[in-house]
């Protein structure tokens, strides 16, 4: 290798080492992807208010839980359901687990083209396919199935059901016309341009959908992690969550 | 004059080779039809193949000794080998080929450059060389490594008739001026007569006749 070539590699490696510096005094938050928009805004407010730096890592709650179980150095974990939070119970910093938010199910349809007004309308022949999250894996799908079973519609609707890998994919099926309707979270419908909400499942009728959060035991920035979790319960954060369509739960550490 | 003491047993698949020759020669020719084992014999001397039994000794230098189960590593043999397809390194230009095995003998390098008329070729890519040019470059590459023995496999095969005389002249000068013993594979009588003092006639892996070229190849 020529001297110039070696130099080039040296520069490259140097650049890389610079990039790969470990995180210092930052709060790394692993959160369910349905929270990405609102949490990005809230994290910025938190940074301004506290001087801490926040890194956000969004993904499917079950993947995030698995990463924590493998020992990923996460400071705060916010799950889209209790099951995934229960899986990491050994990694929860004692006394920090808290139920933060609620969400509701909603029926999404293509904007302006549907005669679906109530859940029973899903039986109409004009609804040929109904997209939901995969009820075997995706929390939103589990909730959708529970709800349809409670209404006694599951058996009749089952031939129409298209299981999707995520809530967003269920919505994409409606956007593209592959499905006439989807059952997703109320907060997701707003994010998709081509769809509108036909029906929001009243909190009393639907399954209880709760987003719990916690400080992870292995954190190196316990103070920062705790103050971030606390910030999510301030009036400022609550109003942002509400605007995004989430319900907020009164602080109740368990 | 070099003393050749070859006692070789070699088998590969259905082909078996048995050579037994003790002779003195400056240039030893291996003569015979294709498939008679000439090239295999060269490769055995070079060390690219290993005999099952026997010995390969040239001027007292043991290259292979079946009794002691000793085979000198190829790179220590100091044998210059120019195969029929010359095998110039395709990813190097002529100069890098010629200098590949150079042992620092500047006088020899200069002499070879003149003898083989290499200067105009030095910057060329080997793909652009003619058959005769390749042969000259391969010869220079082998000789630059200061070999104690030179093996040539049909050096004239890829050279057109008009240029053969020049190669023969160059080989004669290598023989006379560098005084390196040569083993030479050929199947044209005139060529053998012009260069080799002793000829071994081979057929089917066996030595059919051996002796002074003039008497073996009338």
């Amino acid at each position: 290798m020529t001297l110039r070539g070696s130099l080039r590699w040296l520069v490259l490696c140097g650049l890389w080492l610079g990039l790969a510096q470990p995180l210092h005094a930052e709060v790394l938050v692993s959160a369910a992807s349905s929270l990405s928009e609102v949490l990005t805004v809230i994290a910025a407010r938190f940074e301004a208010a506290s001087g801490e730096r926040v890194q956000l890592n969004f993904g499917a709650s079950n993947t995030l839980a698995r990463q924590i179980m493998a020992g990923a150095r996460v400071d705060v974990f916010i799950s889209a359901d209790q099951t995934q939070m229960d899986r990491i119970s050994a990694d929860i910093a004692p006394g920090t687990r808290i139920d933060l938010l609620t969400n509701q199910l909603a029926i999404a349809v293509r904007r302006g083209t549907s005669d679906v007004k109530t859940p029973r309308d899903l039986l109409l022949p004009s609804v040929r396919r109904l997209a939901i999250g995969d009820p075997a894996a995706v929390p939103a799908g589990v909730y959708a199935r529970q709800y349809l079973e409670k209404l006694g519609l599951w058996a009749d609707l089952q031939p129409k059901i298209v299981p999707a890998g995520s809530v967003r994919l269920a919505l994409a099926a409606v956007e593209s016309g592959a499905a006439e309707a989807a059952i997703v979270y109320a907060t997701d419908v707003a994010a998709a341009a081509q769809t509108s909400t036909a029906f929001v499942v009243p909190a009393a009728d639907g399954p209880r959908i709760v987003y719990p959060g916690t400080v992870v035991k292995s954190t190196r920035n316990a103070a920062g992690a705790r103050s971030f979790l606390a910030f999510l319960q301030t009036a400022e954060a609550r109003s942002l969550f509400t605007t995004a369509g989430f319900g907020v739960i009164a602080p109740a550490t368990r | 004059m070099a003393l050749f003491d070859l006692e070789i047993d070699f088998t590969q698949g259905h082909f078996s080779l048995a050579v037994s020759v003790q002779t003195q020669a400056r240039v030893l020719a291996l003569y015979g039809p294709s498939g008679s084992g000439k090239t295999t014999t060269l490769e055995l001397i070079a060390g690219i193949r290993t005999p099952a039994r026997g010995r390969i000794v040239v001027d007292g230098q043991y290259y292979f000794d079946g009794n002691a189960a000793a085979s000198m590593p190829v790179r220590e043999r100091r044998i210059g080998y120019v195969p029929q397809d010359v095998l110039l390194f395709p990813h190097m230009d002529v100069r890098r080929n010629v200098e590949y095995g150079w042992r620092g003998d500047a006088t020899r390098a200069a002499m070879l450059a003149g003898l083989l008329e290499l200067e105009p070729l030095m910057a060329r890519q080997v793909q652009s060389l003619s058959g005769g040019e390749r042969q000259r470059v391969a010869l220079a590459r082998a000789l630059n490594a200061s070999p104690q023995l030179l093996l040539l496999d049909e050096p004239l095969a890829a050279v057109d008739l008009a240029r053969r005389a020049r190669i023969i002249e160059a080989l004669t000068r290598v023989r006379d001026e560098l005084a390196i013993p040569i083993v030479y594979v050929a199947h044209a009588k005139e060529e053998v007569r012009a260069l080799a003092d002793v000829t071994i006639v081979m057929d089917g892996g066996r030595v059919v006749a051996a002796g002074p070229s003039a008497s073996v190849l009338p």
Partner: protein
């Protein structure tokens, strides 16, 4: 192009480049070993190397996560010397390198399987030792295949998704690559940004394929 998109594109290209450099030495070594040195357990090594090619990338990511996580057999040792992998740019490089390696090995191996033994023998008659024979003859004669393999590995690294998101997560400004970014952006309704990244990825793929065609062209 927004600064965020540009940063993701730059980071991904750099990470893929580093991953290619990282996989080059073990990749060429393995290719040579598999092509030239029959050894006991060769088929097992061969299978292991090719595994990421046939396994779902997410599964490869899970295996890496299990190995390199702080509680994993390798991660535990690394933690003791102060190195953490999961959720770092290094994790991105490792995921990319592991996924790209089989392509490099399989392509480079063909280069070493060419019949160059006689060239090597000639080099030996000229006094070259094993290392010189390898570096001056074997390696250059396989260089075109190695280059093509490296480019394939690089392209694979550029598009790597499944293993990356499991091992490195999707942290903006830190581990978010083009592929992970496209996924995250579509997941969160940022379709315009996803589209911009898609454009970048098409452009990069175009350049990579063009380069590999040029290498293939000079080979014939």
């Amino acid at each position: 192009m927004s600064p965020e998109i540009r940063e993701i594109a730059l980071f991904t290209s750099l990470a893929a480049l580093v991953a290619t450099v990282v996989m080059l030495i073990p990749g060429v070594g393995l290719a040579w070993l598999l092509a030239r040195r029959p050894f006991p357990g060769r088929s097992i090594v061969e299978t292991l190397v090719s595994l990421p090619l046939v396994m779902p990338p997410v599964a490869t990511g899970l295996v890496l996560l299990w190995l390199l996580g702080r509680r994993g057999p390798v991660g535990r040792v690394l933690e003791r010397i102060g190195i953490e992998i999961v959720f770092t740019p290094t994790a991105v490089v490792i995921a990319m390198a592991v996924m790209g390696l089989p392509l490099l090995v399989r392509t480079a191996r063909v280069g070493f399987e060419q019949n160059t033994h006689r060239f090597e023998a000639i080099a030996e008659t000229l006094g070259a030792g094993p290392w010189r024979v390898f570096t001056s003859v074997t390696l250059p004669l396989a260089s075109r295949h190695i280059a093509a393999g490296a480019l394939l590995g690089f392209s694979r690294a550029l598009g790597e998704f499944g293993a990356t998101i499991v091992l490195a997560g999707s942290i903006p400004g830190r581990t978010r690559t083009i592929a992970v970014g496209i996924y995250s952006f579509t997941e969160t309704g940022r379709d315009a940004d996803a589209l911009a990244l898609l454009g970048v990825s098409v452009a990069l793929a175009f350049v990579a394929v063009l380069a590999s065609n040029r290498i293939a062209g000079t080979a014939s």
